[in-house]
Amino acid sequence: MLTIDSVYKSLGEFSLSNVSLEIGDREYFIVLGPTGAGKTILLETIAGIYSPDAGRILLNGRDITDVPARERNIGMVYQDYMLFPHLTVEDNIGFGLKSRRADPAFIRGKMQESADLLNIAHLLHRYPGTLSGGEQQRVALARALVMEPEALLLDEPLSALDVKTRENLRTELARIHKATGTTIVHITHNFEEVFDLADRVAIMRGGDVIQVGAPEEIFRRPNSDFVAGFVGVENLFSGTGSSDGTVAVGNLRMRVENGISGPVSVAIRPEEIFLSKTAPPENGRNVFPGRIETVRPNGGLIRVAVEAGIPFRVTLTRQGFEEADIVAGDAVYLAFRPSAAHVYPSGAHEEA
């Protein structure tokens, strides 16, 4: 269990303000946020590179706030690998065990084990400068894992890699996490990594943690305009909530999942909206008439803009699009379930 308790840290333009997180044993925890959100400082503070201005950090019940980095047993892997260029792959991996003055035979055994885990046994005698990005990142992972860290921190580990390598290594990370059971804190600005890897996600902005939850939860139930925008909710409306579980947005009154009275935001994911030319049965759903404004193919998906008094964005699969048989200018009906309309108070977690 890694506990970050009300941590503050100010470092020039980057800062952490009152960050609290509880990361469970063996959990794969992703911290998501735009550049400048303070994600790297968070990791470096956990690793012990910086000491917090205020707050505490606990690792498995031990208060490590004032423990130097070398005694924390927390591994760190950076986006740019940071392999020691003057040492071979073998010496890079063995670096930490040599610091601990481990027995040479023990070092060799451990090194072989982690080289096998990362599939880099054939690279042991090479220098980092001669390796590809993906290979270098594997070596960096092996160098951290060979120490059997109590927690492993990954700072945008996939961001410097090309698309194909990134996908491979993403799968590898999931496998390694399963094999070693190490608690992992992984930061990224890329939402794709979340669904494949994360048990839970925290969203950060400007040094604050804004929302923490399972990926599905963050994805479907953002708690603020910022998170909604970040996870790709394209239908964000301001409205007035009533205690009967409806929200008035413009001229529309929609049934929603969680009724809140007063000024609210409504977030509806574009892929949760159904389109048809004939009026579909309501079955408790929200059904509104509208008109197709634009139809824009985007890779395998079709993005449709619909005007229904308020502007909706709808994403259809190619098959769904063909079944709906629609073109720009058609009159259509939009339908979505109340559970697809997520509501939170207006102005939640706005930047001061």
Partner: protein, 265 residues
């Protein structure tokens, strides 16, 4: 070159470059070829020039080692840490470089000759005034800024995250420096040492002031050149100059070779 459309500007700039390169080569060849080869060899093998070569090499090697020893920790502090007075300190360290060496020499002479610190050092057996020790001190004082600047920019070129990783792998600050930053800086330090050493060999003004120009006592190569020139023994002066030219050319080559190969990680 495009012959249909000649650029006079290009022709003019290249011509000036050629002219000045020729001038430099002529000046150097003029020195080296002034004496007949037999005379040059005889002078090079003379006791006085041999003494000057030995003294120059010993003093410059020691002063270079001292420069490395001091520059490495100072450059590291200036490259990595923030502390009060850092900006002022950075500027102070560069002053000896901008100062005319003769002025540095006068300062050193007063410091080691008449100040209480200098006097007590002399009383303790460390006499710098008019001794070979003074040559080492003069070279150290004048050349330290060069070593410092090269070393500082070398350390700044090493991403501190290498040290962060080293610390998460069990290193203390000092171990991270010793096992990671220092080896990664090897080329830069080598290049800095070569340039510092070659400047030490050629150091004249400050050494003249502090150590004086005593034949066969504080007679380094540049001093030998100066002494023999002023007493009319031109062929000895030429011999000293020839050696200095060779050292300059070789060390410049070494600096370019290693300095150019310095990786900025």
């Amino acid at each position: 070159m495009n012959l249909k459309n000649p650029s006079y500007f290009r022709a003019a700039t290249v011509a000036i470059a050629l002219l000045i390169a020729t001038f430099i080569v002529l000046v150097l060849i003029g020195v080296v070829t002034h004496s007949p080869p037999a005379v040059l060899v005889e002078c090079l093998l003379s006791e006085e020039i041999q003494f000057a070569v030995r003294l120059s090499i010993i003093t410059s090697v020691i002063s270079t080692l001292l420069c490395i020893l001091v520059a490495v920790p100072v450059a590291y502090a200036l490259a990595r840490y923030t502390f009060p007075g850092k900006t002022v300190m950075n500027m102070l360290m560069d002053i000896p470089m901008a100062l005319p060496p003769l002025v540095a020499g006068v300062g050193l002479l007063l410091f080691f000759g008449v100040s209480p610190i200098g006097k007590s050092l002399a009383a303790a057996g460390l006499a710098f005034v008019f001794t070979p020790l003074g040559i080492i001190m003069a070279q150290f004082f004048v050349n330290l800024p060069y070593m410092l600047r090269v070393t500082r920019s070398t350390f700044q070129g090493v991403n501190p995250r290498y040290e962060y990783v080293a610390k998460t792998l069990g290193c203390t600050d000092a171990q991270a420096f010793w096992r990671v930053t220092l080896p990664m800086s090897a080329n830069g330090l080598l290049a800095g040492s070569v340039i510092t050493w070659s400047k030490g060999i050629g150091e004249f003004g400050a050494g003249l002031m502090l150590a004086g120009a005593t034949r066969m006592k504080t007679e380094t190569l540049p001093l030998s050149l100066f002494l023999n020139m002023s007493t009319g023994k031109l062929e000895y002066a030429i011999a000293a100059a020839t050696i200095l030219i060779m050292i300059s050319v070789v060390s410049l080559y070494a600096f370019e070779r290693y300095g150019g190969a310095t990786h900025v990680y």
